[in-house]
C-alpha cells in the first residue's frame, strides 16, 4: 500500500553566526492562526512546521500525530538540570510539564483541532522513519485515515553549548529544522502531491541488497543518500539500482540532526524524476529506506 502525500511543509533556517536565535512567536501565530503561550522553542518549531503543512488542506479531527526528534527539547531539559543542580532552584511547574516530549504533540493537536492518537516515537539515526513506520502501520490497518508526521530539531542558546552537544566545529553552520507531511490512505479522494510506497528498515547490507534487487526498477529514480550513509555505500547502491542521479539535498541545508524530511519535501517541490529512494544508515551497518513516488 502507498501512502498519499496530501501536503508537505517545513521550517528550516540557519542560526546566525552571532548565535541569536530567530524569534518564532509571530510565525506560530501566522502558521497556526492561534496564539500559543508559555511554550518552548521546540514546541514553537513543531507548531510552525505542522501549521504550514496544514495551511491549505482540510485536516480531519481524527488525524493521528506522529512526531519525532533526535535530541528532543534540549533547551527545556537543560534548563531543568541547571535550575536543580547548578542554581539549586526548584523547577517551575510549567517548565516541568513542558519537558515531556509529547508536549509538542499536544500543542500541535490542540492548535489544529485533532483528537486521535498522538505519539512521540523516534530513533537515533533516522527519527522521522520511526514516525513514518508507525503511521504507515496504523493507516494500513485502517485504524486511521490520515496522519500528520513530523520531525523537529531545535537549537538552544548559547550556540557554543549547542555545538558541543552536536559535536560539530565552529565552521559548521548550525540550523533548526521542522519537517511535516500530511499523509493519507490511497482511498482518500483528494489529489495527492506524491506517494510513499513504503518506509523500510534493514538489518544489514545483504538484506538491503536483496530487497533493492528484488523489489523493482529504480533505474530512473533519484538516489538521496541520508546524513549517515557513507559515500561507499551510496556508490554501491547507485550501481546496484543502475542510477546515476544522486540527490545532494543537504548541500544547502544548515546542520541539524534529522534531515530526511527535507529530502522528501525538496524532491516533491523541486525535482521531476518519477521517484526518490532515500537511504540512510547507522554506525552498526543497519539501513533505513524511504521511497517517494511522484
Amino acid at each position: 500500500m502507498s501512502l498519499k502525500i496530501l501536503a508537505i511543509a517545513s521550517y528550516c533556517e540557519p542560526i546566525a553566526s552571532d548565535g541569536a536565535l530567530p524569534e518564532l512567536k509571530e510565525m506560530v501565530k501566522i502558521s497556526t492562526g492561534v496564539v500559543v503561550r508559555r511554550v518552548t522553542r521546540f514546541v514553537q518549531l513543531a507548531l510552525i512546521g505542522a501549521g504550514r503543512c496544514c495551511e491549505n488542506v482540510e485536516v480531519a479531527p481524527d488525524t493521528g500525530v506522529y512526531f519525532s526528534s533526535c535530541r528532543g527539547d534540549t533547551e527545556v531539559t537543560a534548563s531543568l538540570l541547571e535550575d536543580l543542580i547548578s542554581r539549586k532552584e526548584l523547577p517551575s511547574p510549567v517548565t516541568f510539564v513542558n519537558s515531556v516530549s509529547n508536549a509538542a504533540c499536544f500543542h500541535v493537536a490542540r492548535a489544529l483541532g485533532l483528537h486521535d492518537r498522538n505519539n512521540f516515537v523516534t530513533n537515533r539515526f533516522d527519527p522521522i522513519v520511526a514516525a513514518l513506520t508507525t503511521a504507515y502501520v496504523d493507516i494500513t490497518r485502517g485504524e486511521i485515515a490520515t496522519a500528520l508526521v513530523g520531525s523537529v530539531d531545535s537549537a538552544s542558546a548559547p550556540l557554543a553549548r549547542h555545538r558541543q552537544r552536536l559535536q560539530v566545529n565552529t565552521s559548521t553552520v548550525i540550523g533548526e529544522g521542522s519537517h511535516w507531511m500530511l499523509v493519507a490512505s490511497p482511498s482518500d479522494p483528494r489529489k495527492g502531491i506524491g506517494t510513499i510506497p513504503g518506509a523500510h528498515n534493514f538489518s544489514g547490507w545483504e538484506q538491503l541488497q536483496a530487497w533493492l534487487v528484488g523489489t523493482g526498477d529504480y533505474g530512473n529514480w533519484l538516489l538521496a543518500p541520508g546524513q549517515h550513509l557513507s559515500e561507499t555505500d551510496a556508490n554501491r547502491i547507485a550501481e546496484l539500482i543502475g542510477t546515476t542521479a544522486c540527490f545532494d539535498y543537504s548541500r544547502n541545508l544548515p546542520y541539524y540532526d534529522s534531515q530526511t524530511g527535507a529530502a522528501i519535501e525538496q524532491f516533491i517541490r523541486e525535482r521531476n524524476e518519477p521517484g526518490m529512494l532515500h537511504v540512510n544508515s547507522d554506525p552498526a551497518g543497519r539501513y533505513s529506506v524511504v521511497l517517494v513516488e511522484r
Binding site: 537543560a78 516541568f96 509529547n102 483528537h115 505519539n119 494500513t140 558541543q164 538489518s203
Partner: protein
C-alpha cells in the same frame, strides 16, 4: 488476524528482583514506600518513593545498566528464542525520564571539576535504545517512545501491531523509570505527591507516590496457544489540558470504547480492569466517571500503583506484566483498605486476592500531554465463550 503473544518477561520493582518475586508480593497487602532524600539549598527533604528492591540509589549510571541488562536477560531466557531470532529482535523502549538520573549525576560531577560544565553533553532521545541494541548485538529496528505515563504501553502496542502486520517477527519491549531529582521535584512542584501512601480512588486519596521500575517483554507471533496476547487497544489525545484529563470523563470514555471496538468486544466481555489510578483528586474522578459511563456494570477493578508506586513511563509494561502474571497464577490482586467502598469516586477496588479465570482484560493508562491509552489483553482464544 494473528495476534502478538507474550513470550517472556523480566521485571525489577520495589516488590522484587524478578517476575516471580514481584507477583508473589501481590498476594499480600500493599507495602509501605521507602523514602528518598532530595537536597536543595533550603535543606534535605524525605519524599516517599518505591525504590527498586535490594538496590541502593547511588551511582545512577551503573545502577541503570546493571538493572536493565539483568531484566532483559530474564525476558530473553523466558522467551527461549534461537540465537538468530535474538539477533533480529526489534527493540521498543518506553520511558519518561530515560537516563536523566545518570545525567544529573554526570553534570553534578562535571560541575565539581569545572564551572563551565554543561548539562546534556551527550543528549539523545534514543541513546538508551542505542546502547541496549549495540550491547546485545541486536540488528532489528528500534523505536523509542516518550509519551509520558503511556510511553511503554504505546511501545508495547506498536510492537504488537508491527508483528501482526509481519513487519517484524519478534520484539523486545523495555520500560525504565529510575529515581531522579528532575522528576521528583517536578511532581512536587505540581503538588501531586502524597506525603504518605498512595490510595487511588479512595475518598482520602492525597496524591501519588513515585516508583522505580525496569520491565522487559519479548513479543512474538501467536502460535495458536492460549497464552496472554494483545487483543486490541486505543490511543487518543485529550487536548483539554497538558496535565489533567478532561474532568467529565468523556475523554476516558472515548479511549475505552475505542479499545473495546478494536478488540471486537462489548463491555460485558471484560473480566477485570487494571485502572490507572494516580490517586490525584481530579485524575481519579475523571477516570472513574469514564469507566462508570462505559460499563453498565463494572467488572472487578484493581490498581497496582499502591504496590509499586507510579512508575510513570514504565507503568505501561510494568503493570501489564504484574497483572498478567497474577492472572496466570489465578488471582486478581487486591488493595486491602484502599477504595474499599464507593464513597471516593463511585466504585470500589478489589480488596483481597480474588480467583480469576482466563478471559479478556482491560488495562488503562493516562498521561501528561493528554495521552490516553487503553489496552485489551486476553488469555482466551478467539471463539471461546467468556
Amino acid at each position: 488476524m494473528s495476534s502478538a503473544i507474550f513470550l517472556g518477561s523480566g521485571l525489577h520493582t520495589a516488590l522484587g528482583v524478578n517476575v516471580a518475586d514481584c507477583v508473589a508480593a501481590l498476594r499480600g497487602a500493599p507495602p509501605q514506600p521507602g523514602f528518598v532524600s532530595c537536597s536543595m539549598d533550603a535543606g534535605a527533604e524525605a519524599i516517599p518513593y518505591f525504590l527498586l528492591s535490594g538496590l541502593p540509589a547511588d551511582e545512577p549510571g551503573a545502577r541503570l545498566d546493571e538493572v536493565v541488562f539483568e531484566v532483559i536477560q530474564q525476558a530473553l531466557d523466558a522467551a527461549g528464542l534461537s540465537p538468530s531470532q535474538r539477533e533480529s529482535l526489534a527493540l521498543f523502549v518506553g520511558s519518561s525520564s530515560f537516563e536523566i538520573a545518570g545525567e544529573e549525576y554526570r553534570y553534578r560531577q562535571a560541575l565539581n571539576q569545572s564551572s563551565s560544565a554543561i548539562p546534556l553533553a551527550e543528549c539523545g532521545m534514543a541513546n538508551l535504545a542505542e546502547r541496549v541494541r549495540s550491547t546485545l548485538g541486536l540488528r532489528g529496528e528500534d523505536y523509542t517512545f516518550n509519551t509520558a505515563c503511556t510511553s511503554s504501553a504505546n511501545a508495547l502496542w506498536y510492537a504488537g501491531k508491527l508483528i501482526e502486520q509481519d513487519v517484524i517477527e519478534h520484539a523486545l519491549i523495555l520500560a525504565v523509570e529510575f529515581v531522579n531529582n528532575t522528576t521528583t521535584y517536578g511532581f512536587q512542584g505540581l503538588q501531586l505527591l502524597s506525603p504518605t501512601t498512595m490510595r487511588p480512588f479512595d475518598g482520602e486519596r492525597n496524591g501519588l507516590v513515585l516508583g522505580e521500575s525496569c520491565a522487559a517483554m519479548v513479543l512474538g507471533k501467536s502460535s495458536g496457544s492460549e497464552g496472554f496476547h494483545l487483543r486490541g487497544g486505543a490511543n487518543l489525545c485529550d487536548t483539554y489540558s497538558m496535565s489533567t484529563t478532561r474532568e467529565d470523563g468523556s475523554a476516558v470514555v472515548d479511549v475505552l470504547r475505542r479499545a473495546l471496538a478494536s478488540s471486537r468486544l462489548t463491555p460485558d466481555a471484560i473480566r477485570a480492569i487494571k485502572c490507572h489510578g494516580t490517586a490525584t483528586i481530579t485524575g481519579d474522578a475523571a477516570e472513574a466517571r469514564g469507566m462508570l459511563t462505559t460499563f453498565d456494570q463494572l467488572p472487578p477493578c484493581t490498581s497496582l500503583k499502591p504496590f509499586v508506586g507510579h512508575t510513570l513511563g514504565a507503568c505501561g509494561l510494568t503493570e501489564l506484566i504484574l497483572f498478567c502474571e497474577a492472572v496466570k497464577a489465578g488471582f486478581l490482586p487486591g488493595t486491602e483498605g484502599i477504595a474499599a467502598d464507593t464513597d471516593g469516586v463511585g466504585f470500589a477496588l478489589n480488596q483481597r486476592p480474588m480467583p480469576v479465570v482466563p478471559g479478556h482484560f482491560m488495562l488503562n493508562y493516562f498521561g501528561f500531554g493528554g495521552n490516553n491509552t487503553s489496552l485489551i489483553v486476553s488469555n482466551m482464544a478467539d471463539g471461546v465463550d467468556s
